[in-house]
Symmetry: C2
Subunit: 307 residues, 2 copies
């Protein structure tokens, strides 16, 4: 099944895809994907049946898309999670490294990525995203996929200029039992991602969430990123360094994964024959339309506006 | 006025302080501070009157505290925001650098900070926290304080060992029009904070939220951190590098601040006469009880448990 969240008669509403061109509105109370994940399997099936038999029909081409989950507790993103990354990593963890984007950074399919010229270079990052269906902590790897409600597409917009601004080169305070005051200073670098990863409109998400039972293998999906019709990235989720079950299991040892949480699985970055590096695609200079596709999941398109 | 969120008859409920020892339960529907911030001033006053006249009375000493806001859209924290920091900063931004802790990291007053021995050093960070009462973006500095609902206390628990694990030394991809493939590699460091700042129980918050009208000057409050009764930090919010209005105005240029959002104003770190550096207080080695006080706002105490 494919669900989406749209603006309908001035309010958010969940819809289900009936055909490629038609969607049906779910019963009142189902206002986004989280509300669908929350109910029992029986209630969900009953709502789907009601939608298909009696729900208002909408043309997909006319939908006003909202983020599939309106207000997830967190958008947890895995950094540098592509098997092409190790070439450029001099040192780093052997486990998934993660950051959080806030729900306020979400926008739906078709909405603008809003930039300010003075914020410097801004580039897209094409990612498969997981929507958590069942809350859990310390989830075993072989149980992990049972916590997945479905899959969608994330554009993990990134502003490396703001990252550089928000990086400190500093002397970290470390304990040192041998020192008179018990501390020593260690030269360190630390970068803080709230602006460069978490600004408004930096998390386009959607359009559809495809339920897990309809995705045979989340690690065998072609993923592309194009700009104004030119193919930049042409990769496959087979190239994820850490897979969905590994990430869910590892992350949930530290952060409880809640119903509705979104996990960005990390940037697909293999260049297409003609394309450059996706990090080289400066949306703040070029403007235009970014489209990310994940085979069988959907195509997420967002254009740039300046504010 | 002083509000809190507590567990009452198995559900979250908002309470108002009546005396130092007694609280009154707000009417049904007021389940946390966000629900209090959401209503009009008239509705809030009416609810307070009803609580004071007819609400169930509870002993403060027996309250089962929950995070004042149960599920804020974000907990936005300002890094290195103390005027004592520049001594150890070799380079960094002239504006507030920020990161996000997810709502799943919150715990209330009196609840355990739960650690794993293998996660290495873990230290507290005593902070004044702001609760946003009114949603806004691009908020002017002279309007910023009107967006504050109230103030509370945050312990921004930090695991520097996990930070080191989640730091990459890598070659970042930068555009280079002069290069054959349009890119050059720049040696960089980047650290990802989801684990070291955002793990479960890494955001003790509370106990009380004092409404903004009852805080004469948020930049003249003594702030302390003690461990098992020993005073470690003795600082004052006068030493914040960027004040509340500056942080709100700057942050809201990038991230819409939503009703219920929590802002951690940055670590107070001036050592008391007897105390060491707060970064030297390894809770994972020492265990024990951490208490953070902000004068006029409250005292937040949490003990360590191992899991």
């Amino acid at each position: 099944m494919k669900f989406a969240t749209v603006e309908h008669r001035g309010s958010p509403a969940a819809v289900i895809a009936v055909t490629d061109t038609e969607a049906a509105v779910l019963p009142a109370g189902f206002t986004d994907i989280e509300s669908i994940a929350r109910v029992s399997d029986e209630e969900r099936l009953s709502a789907v049946h009601e939608a298909l038999w009696a729900g208002e029909r909408l043309q997909v081409s006319g939908l006003a898309w909202l983020p599939p989950v309106l207000r997830p507790g967190k958008i947890l993103c895995v950094a540098l999670n592509n098997s092409a990354n190790p070439d450029r990593i001099m040192s780093g963890p052997d486990t998934p490294a993660m950051f959080v984007k806030p729900s306020s950074s979400l926008v739906g399919h078709g909405r603008a990525i809003r930039l300010r010229k003075e914020d410097g270079r801004v580039h897209p990052e094409p990612e498969l995203a997981v929507v958590i269906g069942r809350t859990g902590a310390d989830i075993a790897q072989d149980e992990a996929l049972s916590h997945v409600f479905g899959y969608t597409v994330l554009n993990d917009i990134t502003a490396p200029g703001l990252r550089n601004e928000d990086t400190f080169h500093y002397r970290a305070i470390h304990p040192d039992p041998g020192a008179a005051d018990g501390v020593r200073f260690v030269e360190s670098w630390v970068s803080y991602p709230a602006r460069y990863k978490g600004a408004d409109t930096f998390a386009p998400l959607g359009p559809w969430v495809v339920t897990a039972d309809d995705v045979a293998d989340p690690h065998a999906l072609r993923i592309t990123c194009s700009h104004d019709g030119r193919l930049i990235t042409d990769d496959n989720t087979a190239n994820l360094r850490f897979g969905v079950a590994e990430v869910i299991s590892f992350a949930s040892r530290y952060l409880t994964l809640e119903q509705g949480d979104v996990i960005g699985m990390g940037t697909a970055l293999r260049r297409s024959g003609a394309g450059g590096a996706v990090q080289n695609l400066d949306l703040n200079r070029l403007g235009g339309l970014v489209e990310i596709t994940v085979d069988g999941i959907g195509a997420l398109a967002n254009h740039v506006e300046w504010r």
